[in-house]
Amino acid sequence: MTRFLRTFFVGGLIAYRGLFNWIRPAMYIPTMLGGPLFQLIFFTKLGEFAHAESRDFYIVGNATQACAMASVYGMTMAIANERWFGTLGPLLASPANRAAVFLGRGVPVLANGLLVSAFTYLAGVVLLGFRPPLSSVPALAAIVVVTTISCTAFGMLLGSTSLRAKDFFFAANLAYFLMLLLCGVNIPLGDLPGALAAVGRCLPLTHGIAAAREVAAGASLTDVSGLVGTELAIAAGYAAAAYAVFRILERESRRSAVLDTY
């Protein structure tokens, strides 16, 4: 058990620091903080110009979605770079518990996602006049935690596929932009065609954002427990799928000797 926990926490942290190469301040500040900040301003101003939804709709949507920047890219890189840097072979040759190796990498990603989302919410308060009821802040924080978990699980799945895929950034970029369109970040799901809305409902973020909007408007955490539960179930589904894909691709890569090939 001690070994499992050590691999989970210490191994996860070391792997994250080594593989998530956007962690340097010169890279982190412009990308992880500057990007979401200006995205928030852009969509809020676009919404204002289009007279589509209220200002808070865009602030909550984009500030919650900001965690995806950290979760999707962070988790993808924390797995995919193992192959890119040529360390995947030694890692898979080790006897370490795969679940500890794999899931441990999600903890720093989760912490980073929360930080990015919190920063974007704060920017909404300071720059755009977002004023949720103070009593809603703990519930809002809890929803952001759940949403970040589901985005991290989604990032795990993308990262796992990169054990074989040639260009993992292509998938990560595409997934990130599609989430902007399909998850109700800037467009209510009801405005999308049925098929697209159905895809959105199967993705992380969607239910979390819907819950966050209700809470910011005064609802309690109990009122949105269904949405939060669905978001958690989606997270569990993606995490299980990611672990299964990781193990299958690991076995197949060993069998066909393509671990480090591109």
Binding site: A50, H51, N173, I187
Partner: protein
């Protein structure tokens, strides 16, 4: 004559490289189409269906800027990774001339975005492609792309000194979309941002394209975009010289 050959060879070479890059496929076609779709739905929700062409043009220009920006940052960074930056710096031609065709190719690749968003809008949202001044439109588009390319050249020169050029690219995408008013009017921004907008070629570029497509004279913005582009181009020849010398002095040219 040799200079023209450098421009031609660099332009063709970079176009071929961009054509095989999946990252640029996302940046120049998929991303603009996704942003255009978001903008279409937002304009529709606000009951502004008549402005869908406005959104399509703006989303296309967003793609031109993204491609120019990532291309400008990327060309220095990729040359660092490939170990060819020193070779370019060591060639007898001024560095600005070596990179001019690269940045022009980036901007031209970005033009896919404009085509993609207009087609997407036409086919899926029924956006009418009726242009009020077709001739002015035909002049405004290449001028806007050229001026963005020259702005990209200036950015590329600063990236020689900065080891994390791609981070700066990540940061600068949205601010230029915002300050240039590509999909919304800059009149909703604070007044202090106006001078920043005036200094950006995309601001005049989209104004020219919008006037040509939707009504109003495009010639004023076309001249402004051309003048700003020329100024950025000239400035980049100076900054390339300064930053290249500094990077050589500090031996940071190839540091990744």
């Amino acid at each position: 004559m040799t200079g023209l050959r450098v421009v031609r060879a660099g332009f063709v070479m970079n176009l071929k490289m961009l054509a095989t890059s999946s990252f640029f496929l996302v940046t120049s076609t998929l991303q603009p189409v996704i942003f255009a779709t978001i903008a279409f739905y937002m304009f529709r929700a606000g009951g502004q269906g008549g402005t869908l062409l406005y959104a399509a043009l703006g989303a296309g220009m967003m793609g031109v800027w993204s491609t120019t920006l990532y291309g400008s940052g990327g060309m220095i960074q990729w040359q660092r990774w490939q170990g060819t930056l020193e070779l370019s710096a060591g060639s007898p031609h001024p560095l600005a001339l070596v990179y001019l065709p690269f940045t022009l190719a980036n901007a031209l690749t970005g033009a896919y975005a404009l085509v993609a968003t207009l087609l997407w809008g036409r086919l899926l949202f029924g956006v009418p492609l009726h242009l009020v001044h077709p001739f002015q439109f035909a002049v405004a588009v290449p001028v806007a792309i050229l001026s963005l390319g020259l702005m990209g050249l200036l950015l590329a020169s600063t990236f020689i000194l900065y080891r994390y050029a791609n981070a700066l690219s990540n940061l600068l995408e949205y601010p230029v979309w915002i300050a240039s008013g590509l999909v919304f009017s800059t009149s909703i921004l604070p007044v202090w941002t106006r001078p920043i907008s005036w200094l950006l070629p995309p601001y005049w570029g989209i104004l020219a394209i919008r006037h040509a497509a939707l009504g109003g004279s495009a010639w004023g913005p076309i001249v402004a975009a051309l003048a700003l582009g020329a100024a950025y181009g000239l400035l980049s020849t100076v900054t390339f010289g300064i930053f290249e010398r500094l990077a050589r002095d500090q031996a940071t040219l190839s540091l990744t």
